[in-house]
């Protein structure tokens, strides 16, 4: 009798453990999803910053070309133009290269979260360390690759040896990677400060350039509209439209940056809570 009473209780307990295990794993799925989304936004912002920079410097090159043609002639003019183009290309490429390394870091961290999300959502037995160690090594390498202080940056942590995905195993995995992940998050936060400033400055420049170099001079041109070709008129309308609608894009960029900063802060809080022992 006693035996039969105890059996349902054990089953209930087991069922409860399984249920709570699932719920906890879901928390890790959510955490990983949030992390992957945040790092993805940062990587996309890097691309956006690069595009804005090249567009902005292209307008400045056109401005310089215009000024140089009034100052120089012949070979002197050609050489001055070539120097100006070389200088702008070098400066832009340096900025793009610098951003690329941080984008690599964002992508590595995103890959880690994607792997973690898949692991947390799975019930199949698997060695977590095999799945995550290589990714974390790439993340650490991405950080070390940009080390300009000749510091000995800590090596990757030893792999986590767990073969079954449980809440405890996932927590253990995250705790072991905490230092690498927090360092990478710090770097992404740092990038957001400088990159949002860069995007903002270049956007203002592009807006002024479009008006000053394209829209206004074309409109002030005294050639009668009837003598302009259809494509010229269409081009002018398209440019004006781009300029005025551009302010919507600028506002979207600002919203994206603000959302990325908020999402980074929230993710960090959640991550810190879930990795506190």
């Amino acid at each position: 009798m006693r035996q039969s009473l105890r059996a349902p209780a054990v089953w209930c307990l087991l069922f409860f453990v399984l249920l709570s295990g699932c719920a906890s794993s879901q928390q890790y799925v959510s955490l990983a999803r949030e992390g992957a989304a945040y790092t993805g936004v940062v990587a996309a912002l890097v691309d956006r910053a690069n595009a804005m920079r090249v567009e902005s410097s292209s307008y400045i090159l056109l401005q310089q070309r215009h000024e140089m043609t009034t100052k120089y002639k012949g070979k002197v003019l050609k050489n001055a133009l070539l120097d100006s183009l070389k200088h702008a290309n070098q400066s832009d490429l340096e900025a793009i290269e610098n951003n690329r390394h941080t984008k690599d870091l964002a992508i590595s961290l995103q890959n880690y979260f994607i792997a973690l999300q898949e692991l947390a959502a799975s019930t199949a037995p698997v060695d977590i360390s095999t799945k995550t160690s290589e990714i974390i090594s790439k993340l650490d390498d991405a950080m070390r690759a940009r080390n300009s202080t000749s510091l000995t940056v800590p090596q990757s942590v030893a792999p986590v040896i767990v073969t079954h995905i449980t809440e405890r195993a996932l927590q253990k995995e995250l705790i072991r990677r905490k230092q690498s992940i927090l360092s990478a998050l710090d770097i992404l936060d740092g990038l957001l400060i400088t990159i949002s400033r860069e995007i903002d400055g270049q956007t203002r420049n592009i807006r002024n350039a479009r008006v000053g170099l394209l829209i206004q001079p074309a409109y002030q041109d005294t050639i009668p509209v009837s003598k302009l070709s259809l494509s010229d008129k269409e081009l002018w309308v398209a440019l004006r439209k781009k300029d005025l609608l551009g302010s919507t894009t600028e506002s979207d960029d600002k919203k994206t940056v603000t959302a990325a900063k908020t999402s980074g802060r929230k993710f960090r809080e959640l991550f810190t809570n879930m990795t506190s022992k």
């Binding site: 202080t149 927090l182 770097i187 807006r207």
Partner: protein, 213 residues
């Protein structure tokens, strides 16, 4: 020490002020280090304190003397950029001062860098400024417009390199070593490592200040 706007310097100062000479001696007394290793660590510690003192002094000077002047100059100029032809001469005359002050901005001073980001795109296209509307545009000798853009881009790049390629790689080690010091934990390995990082970063910070000052 007063609260500094420069977060890396604040965290480095926190580490240095939590690390007393007597605590170092306690750690060394309990360690199995060779005499020459002890001497080297003491030397590194003294260097760290000396560099920290000069960096703090330079930054105090920046915050108390340089920054208010930079702020006043940039904020005034930002307002001037919106004014009409009556401000034409003043706008041209003040441009040299803006270039001087912009060059003095600390790369980690977000407030001043944000002001600079608003000014350079306006300066770049003088024909769009109300002050020059319908009149002659200033020539390159009095309006070297590309210089302000270059100052902004160079400083923003330096900030990104400093943060992402140096400071943020070791920040956590320094912050956690400071926590250990505050709790009186005697872990010579982690404190020694943080001390090394602190010296390197302070070296970089002092080089950045030499560029600015």
């Amino acid at each position: 020490m007063e609260q500094m706007g420069n977060i890396p310097l604040r965290e480095l100062s926190d580490f240095a002020s939590s690390f007393s000479d007597s605590f170092l001696e306690e750690l060394l007394a309990a360690s199995s280090m060779k005499p020459e290793e002890r001497t080297a660590l003491r030397e590194q510690y003294r260097n760290m304190l000396a560099t920290m003192e000069s960096v703090q002094k330079a930054y105090r000077r920046y915050e108390e003397i340089d920054r208010p002047v930079i702020k006043e100059c940039l904020e005034t100029y930002l307002l001037l950029l919106q004014r009409g032809p009556e401000s034409r001469e003043e706008l041209i005359q003040q441009f040299a001062a803006v270039l001087d002050q912009a060059a003095r901005i600390d790369i980690l001073d977000d407030g001043m860098m944000d002001l600079l980001k608003e000014i350079w795109p306006e300066v770049q296209w003088p024909e769009q400024l109300p002050a020059f509307e319908g009149g002659q545009l200033p020539d390159e000798s009095v309006w070297p417009k590309n210089r302000l853009k270059r100052i902004f881009e160079e400083k923003n790049k330096q900030a990104q390199v400093f943060l992402n390629n140096s400071w943020l790689l070791v920040r956590l080690d320094i912050v956690s070593a400071t926590e250990e010091l505050k709790k009186g934990k005697k872990h010579l390995d982690s404190l020694g490592k943080a001390l090394g990082y602190c010296c390197k970063i302070l070296g970089l910070v002092s080089r950045i200040h030499n560029i600015i000052l």
